[in-house]
C-alpha cells in the first residue's frame, strides 16, 4: 500500500499499510524506539483503507482490514486513524495468534515475576499497569498478556498504552510529554491518548516472567480485597481469552496450570493511589 510501516511488539511482527500518510507517521512517532528488523517477514498484516477511492479525500473514513476482518465494522474518521491502527493490530493478534494463549489482560513484572490484571474495559487495568510501569515495575502490556503453553510463563506485548478519559490526565502528570501521542477526543471509546512505554520495558520485551499474582480489578467503590477460587479465576480467564477454544487441550492445560499456581484476588478501589497501594500490599504477601 502507498504508506506503510513495520512494527514488532513482543513476538508479533506487524506490517501496517494505509491509504493515508497520517496514521503511519503517527505510528512512526509512537514506535520509533521499538526494535527494527527489516529482514523479518511479517506475521500479521493490517490495512487501513478507503472503501471508495474518493473517500481518501472526501470525508475520509478509515476502514480496518487485514488478514482478519470483522464484517460490518464501522469506519473511523481520519482524525482517529491511530485508533484504527491500534484496533487493527489488536484484531489480528486476537484472531490470528496461536503460539501463546492470549489473555485480554494487562501485566507488569518485577524481578521476572508477573502481576497479571484482567477485567472489562473501565476496570482500570490499563491505568494501573501504566502507573505501575512508571514506578519500579516493568510494563509488559496494557491489552494482551501472552501465556506460553509449554513453560507457563507470561510474555509481554508492550504496545503503546491506550490511555482513556480520566487516565490521560492522571498519567500525563507523571511522564515526559514526549512520551505521549496526540489526543484523540470523542472517539467511540472516549478520549484516547497513547503512552510510549519506558525504554527498559521495550528493551526487555522478550523476557518471560513467572505469573505470580492474578488480579481482577474493579474501579469504583470502597477499597476491598477478595480472594478468588481457582474455578472462578478459570472461568473469568476463559472469557478474557480470545484463543482459548482454538488452542484446544493446550489452552486448557495452560489455563489450568495458571490458576492452580497463581493466587487470584478481586480488588475494588476508589482511586488509582488506593489501587496501587492494594496491589503492593498483595504483592508483598504473595511474592515473599
Amino acid at each position: 500500500m502507498r504508506h506503510n510501516i513495520r512494527i514488532a511488539v513482543g513476538p508479533v511482527q506487524f506490517r501496517i499499510g494505509s491509504d493515508w500518510a497520517e496514521p503511519i507517521s503517527a505510528l512512526e512517532q509512537l514506535y520509533a524506539g521499538y526494535p527494527q528488523d527489516d529482514a523479518r517477514p511479517a506475521d500479521a498484516t493490517v490495512r487501513l483503507f478507503a472503501a471508495r477511492p474518493w473517500r481518501r479525500w472526501v470525508r475520509p473514513s478509515v476502514h480496518i482490514g487485514g488478514d482478519f476482518v470483522v464484517p460490518d465494522a464501522l469506519p473511523l474518521p481520519l482524525s482517529m486513524g491511530l485508533l484504527a491502527a491500534e484496533m487493527g493490530m489488536n484484531l489480528q493478534v486476537a484472531l490470528g495468534w496461536r503460539r501463546h494463549m492470549l489473555l485480554h489482560a494487562s501485566a507488569v513484572a518485577r524481578d521476572d515475576r508477573a502481576l497479571i490484571m484482567s477485567g472489562e474495559s473501565g476496570s482500570g487495568k490499563s491505568t494501573l499497569a501504566a502507573l505501575l510501569g512508571e514506578g519500579d515495575w516493568r510494563l509488559m502490556g496494557d491489552e494482551f498478556t501472552l501465556i506460553d503453553p509449554a513453560s507457563g510463563d507470561a510474555l509481554a506485548f508492550p504496545r503503546a498504552v491506550s490511555l482513556k478519559n480520566e487516565a490521560i490526565a492522571a498519567v500525563a502528570a507523571q511522564v515526559d510529554a514526549a512520551r505521549l501521542g496526540p489526543l484523540m477526543a470523542g472517539t467511540p471509546k472516549g478520549d484516547i491518548r497513547h503512552l510510549i512505554p519506558r525504554a527498559d520495558a521495550i528493551a526487555d520485551m522478550h523476557e518471560p516472567a513467572r505469573p505470580t499474582l492474578l488480579l481482577f480489578p474493579r474501579f469504583g467503590g470502597a477499597a476491598a480485597i477478595e480472594p478468588m477460587g481457582e474455578g472462578e479465576a478459570f472461568v473469568r480467564l476463559t472469557e478474557a481469552s480470545t484463543n482459548y477454544v482454538a488452542l484446544g487441550e493446550a489452552g486448557f492445560a495452560a489455563l489450568t496450570r495458571l490458576v492452580r499456581e497463581t493466587p487470584a484476588f478481586g480488588v475494588s478501589y476508589p482511586d488509582s493511589a488506593t489501587g496501587i497501594a492494594l496491589v503492593e500490599q498483595l504483592w508483598a504477601e504473595v511474592a515473599k
Binding site: R15, T45, G248
Partner: protein
C-alpha cells in the same frame, strides 16, 4: 513476481522456499491468510529451508490446524450421536470428509461448518433430531428461511447452542433451482466408509462435488483452496486406482458435472502443475477468466479485479436460478435492505 503467483508456485513446487527474499514472505503470508490457506502452506513447506520466524509461524499454524481438525471431527461425532439412534445415515462432505478419510488435502485445511448429506426423505427427521440434540436455527429472517427450504440444497444453517458450531444439512450438492441436477440418491447410496468410520463420497463423486462446489455453485471465493483440494485428491485417487479418471468421467456425466470437472482438472494442471491423462488436456479459452479470478489478489491480500469478481458473483446467481426467479429474489432482497 506477484505474491499470489509466488504462493501458487510454492504450493506447486515450482519455486524453492529458500530462494525467496525476506520481503517476499510478507505478501506470500498475507495472500495465504486471505485465502485461509496459511496452514496448508505450512504443511506444504514443512521441513523446507525457511527464515526462523517463518518456520515458527508455520509450526504454530500446523499445530492450530491439528486442533481445529480434531474439533471438526468431534463435531461430526456429535452429529452421529444425534442421528444414529434414529437410523438416519449421513455422508460427510468437504473438509470434515477429507479429514475423516485422512486425505493429503486435509493437512492444514481449514474446516468451517460441518457439512453433511442425508437422503431427501430423511431431511425432516434429521432436522428434528438435531434440534432435540441442542442445535438451533441461525436465520431468523422468514424470507431467508423460506428461501432455504424451497430452493436450496440444504436446510437453513443450524448452530449448536453450547458448542457454538454450525452444521449444514444437505439433501443434494447443488441448489434445487440450479441448471444442473446431480443424482443425489446415487451420491448417498454409493458412498464409502472412511478410515475414521464415517461415510464419505466415493472418490469420483467426491471429486465431482469438489468441482461443483468450486465452479458450478459459488462465485469462486476460496477457489485456490478448492482447486488445491481437487489437485491433491485427483493425484492420490489416480495413484491408488488406474481407472480413476475413467470412473470420474462416468460419474461426472451422471451428475451433469462434466464441464465443471474438466475445467477444474485443466485449472489444476495450469496452476498447480497437475498431470492429466489423455483426453483431459483440451484447451479452453474461457479458462483464462477463471484463472485470473483465482489469482486476483495483490501483495496486501486485497482483491485486485473488482469487476471480474462482480462478474463471477452474477454468474453464480445466474447458474443458481432461472431469470424470473432471480429477478424476484433480488427484488425481495433489495426491498429488505
Amino acid at each position: 513476481m506477484s505474491a499470489v503467483q509466488t504462493f501458487v508456485d510454492l504450493l506447486a513446487g515450482r519455486r524453492e522456499a529458500a530462494a525467496l527474499a525476506p520481503r517476499e514472505w510478507d505478501g506470500v503470508i498475507g495472500v495465504a491468510r486471505s485465502e485461509a490457506m496459511l496452514p496448508t502452506l505450512a504443511h506444504r513447506l514443512d521441513g523446507a529451508d525457511l527464515p526462523p520466524t517463518v518456520a515458527a509461524l508455520f509450526a504454530d499454524q500446523r499445530a492450530a490446524a491439528a486442533v481445529a481438525q480434531r474439533q471438526a471431527l468431534w463435531e461430526a461425532e456429535m452429529a452421529r450421536r444425534a442421528l444414529a439412534p434414529l437410523g438416519i445415515e449421513f455422508v460427510l462432505l468437504k473438509g470434515a470428509a477429507y479429514a475423516a478419510a485422512n486425505m493429503a488435502c486435509a493437512a492444514g485445511r481449514q474446516i468451517g461448518d460441518l457439512d453433511i448429506l442425508v437422503l431427501a426423505s430423511d431431511i425432516r427427521r434429521a432436522e428434528n433430531a438435531l434440534l432435540n440434540a441442542g442445535w438451533e436455527w441461525v436465520k431468523s429472517d422468514p424470507y431467508d428461511d423460506f428461501y432455504y427450504r424451497e430452493h436450496m440444497h440444504e436446510l437453513p444453517p443450524l448452530i449448536h447452542k453450547s458448542r457454538d458450531r454450525m452444521i449444514d444439512v444437505h439433501h443434494t450438492i447443488l441448489p434445487r433451482t440450479h441448471r444442473i441436477t446431480p443424482d443425489a440418491l446415487a451420491l448417498v447410496s454409493d458412498a464409502v466408509t472412511s478410515a475414521g468410520g464415517f461415510a464419505v463420497l466415493n472418490p469420483a463423486d467426491m471429486t465431482c462435488h469438489c468441482a461443483a462446489h468450486m465452479l458450478a455453485d459459488g462465485d469462486l471465493q476460496g477457489g485456490l483452496r478448492n482447486l488445491w483440494d481437487f489437485n491433491l485428491m485427483t493425484r492420490d485417487f489416480a495413484a491408488a486406482d488406474p481407472r480413476f479418471w475413467e470412473q470420474l468421467d462416468v460419474r461426472a456425466r451422471l451428475h451433469g458435472l462434466r464441464d465443471a470437472v474438466q475445467r477444474a482438472a485443466r485449472m489444476s494442471r495450469d496452476l498447480y502443475g497437475a498431470v492429466l491423462p489423455a483426453g483431459w488436456n483440451g484447451p479452453e479459452t474461457t479458462d483464462r477468466w477463471f484463472r485470473q479470478r483465482l489469482v486476483a489478489r495483490d501483495d496486501w491480500g486485497r482483491v485486485t479485479r473488482p469487476l471480474l469478481e462482480q462478474a463471477f458473483y452474477i454468474r453464480s446467481h445466474w447458474l443458481r436460478m432461472p431469470p424470473t426467479m432471480l429477478a424476484q429474489h433480488l427484488w425481495t432482497k433489495w426491498r429488505k435492505r
